[in-house]
């Protein structure tokens, strides 16, 4: 050992890492210039970004806001910047944004859809966030009855009667299941509610109380509905109804009862096998033929029914995926605890199955909301339907980027926030340790 020339006796001082390994330079080196291929990719990407932004940014910001027509817009742009191409004409949005939002809804009644929207946000809050006071759930429960009243107007008593029918059904289940058993109670409550809706409710409330205390809003006909409001309305109803129906269908498909299973499978496969547009054709042309002669119910209601059925079939498949992903032990554990079918579904199976299927459920929601644009094909005035009218208008003939950018932006906000919320929810409900 004595021939060694040098042996270090003490530990050398800590040194700062080389400049290329930390901070901005380090980040650049590892993420953008790790090898020659990445460096080339980086330069190509930078050129691409510059190319896009150099076109889009001046278009957005060096734009015309005050003009009466597209040709006037072009004149102003040419006078100001020397060319008419690279500058947006936001004047069309300024001119028509209210129409794109509300359609032809009477302008003095705009407070009603706005109030409905605000109430929607409030009643959704306790569903979406656990930190919100639980009392708001009462609002959530009655919201399905407030929404149509605010939107369509008319006497409040029809909606109160509908609500009381549900309350009655619930009360029957609650107080008679001790006496006649669960199945009997459910049958009784359905009968009770139907009798209420058809005979007692209208007599008592609409004609009795309604005559004494006529609480009514000015009615608005469905033809006046339109714009983003219509898309939101159809989307919210379809989303809200499709989740429970989807759960029932998924349970039906997984059940041992042969007849229920067959009906569910046929329904789901049929709906998933045809495009939504054919179902909308059914809504616009056939649904009245299926009803008793003389019935002529509202086009928006018909569309809502078909969109809801469509969404339910997809929802059922998503939830079935969640059910299939649960280990058998969960079902057997619930059985061995002595829980009956609905108890085990409610307490053990569904909470886990729904949690697993959150991403699928939310992407179905997003899909349904996007698909509401299809109603423009059967002549409803959703934003796309209105945009066709605006483009056919003499003043704005030839405009497309600005209009579609605005509509796309509206849809993007709603869909993107839904997908971000689902990510948040997944993180919050994550119970495995990673």
């Amino acid at each position: 050992m004595s021939d060694q020339a040098f042996v270090r006796r003490e530990i050398i001082e800590e040194q700062t890492p080389p400049l290329t390994a930390f901070g901005l330079v380090g980040w650049l080196k590892s993420n953008l210039f790790s090898n020659w291929f990445n460096a080339i990719l980086t330069f190509i990407s930078l050129y691409f970004i510059w190319y896009v932004l150099s076109g889009v940014l001046p278009w957005i910001f060096l734009s015309v806001w005050n003009a009466g027509s597209l040709s006037e817009c072009r004149e102003i742009a040419t006078a100001t910047w020397g060319d008419s191409h690279g500058h947006a004409c936001w004047a069309v949005i300024k001119d028509r944004w209210i129409q794109l939002l509300f359609g032809f809804y009477p302008s003095e009644l705009y407070w009603r859809p706005i109030l409905a929207f605000v109430l929607l946000l409030i009643s959704l809050a306790p569903v979406l966030y656990t930190s919100v006071p639980k009392k708001i759930f009462y609002l959530t429960a009655v919201y399905p009855f407030i929404l149509p009243w605010l939107m369509w107007g008319g006497s409040v008593w029809a909606y109160v009667s509908a609500l009381l029918g549900f309350v009655l059904g619930y009360a029957i289940v609650r107080y008679t299941s001790e006496i006649v058993g669960q199945l009997g109670a459910v049958i009784l409550s359905v009968i009770g509610a139907i009798v209420w809706w058809l005979y007692i409710g209208p007599l008592l409330l609409s004609q009795g109380v309604g005559a004494i205390l006529p609480l009514a809003l000015e009615p608005v006909i469905s033809r006046d509905f339109g714009g983003f409001m219509l898309a939101l309305l159809i989307g919210v109803v379809a989303i809200g109804c499709s989740l429970p129906i989807g759960i029932v269908l998924a349970l039906g498909r997984q059940s041992d009862l042969l007849i229920l299973k067959t009906i569910s499978v046929w329904f789901i496969e049929f709906i998933r096998g045809v495009p939504l547009i054919t179902l909308l054709f059914v809504a616009s042309t056939l649904l009245n033929i299926f009803m008793p002669p003389g019935t002529n119910f509202d086009i928006i209601l018909r569309v809502m029914i078909m969109v809801t059925l469509f969404a339910s079939a997809y929802m059922a498949e998503v939830i079935r995926g969640g059910l299939a992903a649960l280990p058998r032990g969960q079902f057997e554990g619930a059985d061995s605890l002595g829980l009956n079918y609905w108890q085990s579904q409610r307490l053990i199976i569904m909470p886990q199955a729904l949690k697993i299927s959150i991403p699928g459920i939310v992407s179905t929601f997003i899909g349904v909301f996007k698909d509401t644009t299809l109603v423009s094909i059967i002549g409803l005035m959703d934003p796309l339907g209105l945009s066709q009218g605006i483009r056919a208008n003499a003043e704005w003939n030839g405009i497309y980027w600005e209009l579609f950018a605005f509509i796309a932006f509206l849809f993007f906000i709603v869909c993107f926030s839904m997908s971000r919320y689902s990510m948040y929810l997944e993180r919050k409900l994550q119970t495995d340790h990673r």
Binding site: T285, I289, K370, A408
Partner: protein, 422 residues
């Protein structure tokens, strides 16, 4: 030792239909069946009453009447004197064309974007994220209508190509004309071709297939099978001796030479579009409606496929790659032999369901006037004949057939690659 005895024989009581789980399921099923049948019966009887009142009983005779409308983009010959059934058939073919084209381009773009989103290059990954989010969160109908608007308003009219100081010119070596009336691309022509063969005689489903095309496809299939045989032979030699013979030049030759020979014998050449009169003549004319639909559907579906591809690759744990590397495999063999076979098992089922979605979304063609089966059978035929029930039933049947065939293929594939578990 206790002996097992049979439980007491209970007599059946009516209340057991409600309380006894053995009979309750029966009760529920019977109630459900009665309810379901009565609803269906109610709907059907309503329909019959209503149709009788309207004076149009359900019959399909209208399908054989003359359609008297034109379809401008079509694969098979058709004119306005042909029957509605013929028009529907043209529509079905158009649906299949746009679905087929869309699936191919969507897969190519989607795989590229999905892989690029996983790139180690931060900028590339971000750009691809922006693309995916932008397309996934905006309705496909908007993309279709926007694409159509861009093509109609943004592209030059054919007259801009005319004269000394033309403002527009042909693209790609003077062979492709992008105009606001559609895109003209070179068409394949055979100067000594061997003709067509007509199928299905004079029926509404008649169509003719070019024998030249059949010949080329047959030669291609033969070449590929020979090439596959060469590969298997090389594998055999490698297994027995350890040395792999060089095969790429053989396989390349076997694949290209016969086809080139056949093309030369058939006198293959391209017919270029030319400006004649007010419009382009020659070449294949792809209408703007087809291009817009194809473009929008591909870009939209590609965003979903990109997410599927990304998820599939991420689903393969790092351990697999590392284990393969520690066996001494090279990166491209790791990809081919270890990662891809496992990733494909995750990727293929949702991929096929996206193909299905694309096919169903192609029904939005009606918004831009592309005559697919929704535009012919569910559009003009429905409006002309007033036969809503029959038209929509047939339309649904067409889409159901397409969807169920695709899902049958998917189930077969799923079963063949399923992991065998205990």
């Amino acid at each position: 030792m206790a002996t097992l005895t049979d439980p007491d024989k209970e007599s059946f009581k009516l209340s057991m239909l409600l309380y006894d789980t053995r009979y309750r399921s029966m009760t529920i099923q019977v109630i459900a069946l009665i309810g379901f049948v009565s609803i269906v019966f109610w709907l059907i009887s309503n329909t019959i009453t209503n149709l009788n009142n309207l004076g149009k009983p359900v019959e399909f005779g209208f399908l054989f009447e003359s359609s008297s409308y034109d379809i401008n983009q079509r694969l098979v010959e058709y004119n306005s004197r042909d029957s509605h059934l013929r028009a529907s058939f043209v529509g079905v073919l158009n649906t299949l064309v746009v679905a087929f084209l869309g699936c191919i381009t969507a897969t190519i773009i989607g795989v590229f974007v999905g892989v690029a989103r996983l790139s180690k290059n931060w900028l590339v990954a971000r750009i691809m994220t922006v693309y995916v989010e932008a397309f996934r969160n905006v309705p496909v109908l908007l993309w279709i209508v926007l694409a159509m608007a861009i093509l109609i308003e943004g592209l030059p009219a054919p007259k801009a190509f005319r004269g000394e100081n033309a403002t527009a010119s042909l693209e790609v070596f003077d062979s492709v004309a992008l105009t606001n009336r559609g895109v003209y691309v070179p068409e394949p022509l055979f100067s000594n071709g061997i003709g067509d063969v007509a199928l299905f005689g004079q029926s509404s489903l008649r169509f003719s297939v070019s024998l030249d095309l059949i010949l080329i496809v047959a030669v291609l299939i033969a070449s590929f099978s020979v090439s596959g045989w060469i590969k298997r032979r090389a594998n055999r030699i490698q297994d027995s001796t350890g040395d792999r013979p060089t095969t790429w030049h053989l396989r390349l030759g076997v694949t290209i030479l016969p086809v080139a020979l056949v093309l030369w014998m058939l006198g293959f050449h391209l017919g270029y579009p030319e400006l004649k009169g007010f419009n382009f003549k020659g070449g294949t004319h792809l209408r703007n409606s087809l291009i817009a639909l194809w473009l929008a559907l591909s870009l939209y579906t590609a965003a979903f496929i990109a997410e599927i591809v990304r998820g599939g690759i991420l689903a393969i744990s790092r351990g697999q790659t590392e284990a393969a590397a520690s066996l001494g495999l090279r990166p491209n063999r790791i990809m081919n032999l270890v990662v891809l076979p496992q990733a494909l098992r995750v990727i293929i089922p949702p991929l096929i369901s996206n193909y299905l979605n694309l096919t169903k979304n192609s029904s939005l063609a009606i918004a831009v006037g592309y005559m697919d089966v929704t535009g012919t059978l569910g559009g003009i035929t429905l409006n002309q004949t007033g036969r809503e029930l029959e038209c929509i039933l047939l339309l649904m049947l067409v889409y159901l057939t397409i969807s169920l065939s695709i899902s049958a293929v998917m189930n077969w594939y799923n079963n063949s690659v399923k992991l065998v578990e205990r």
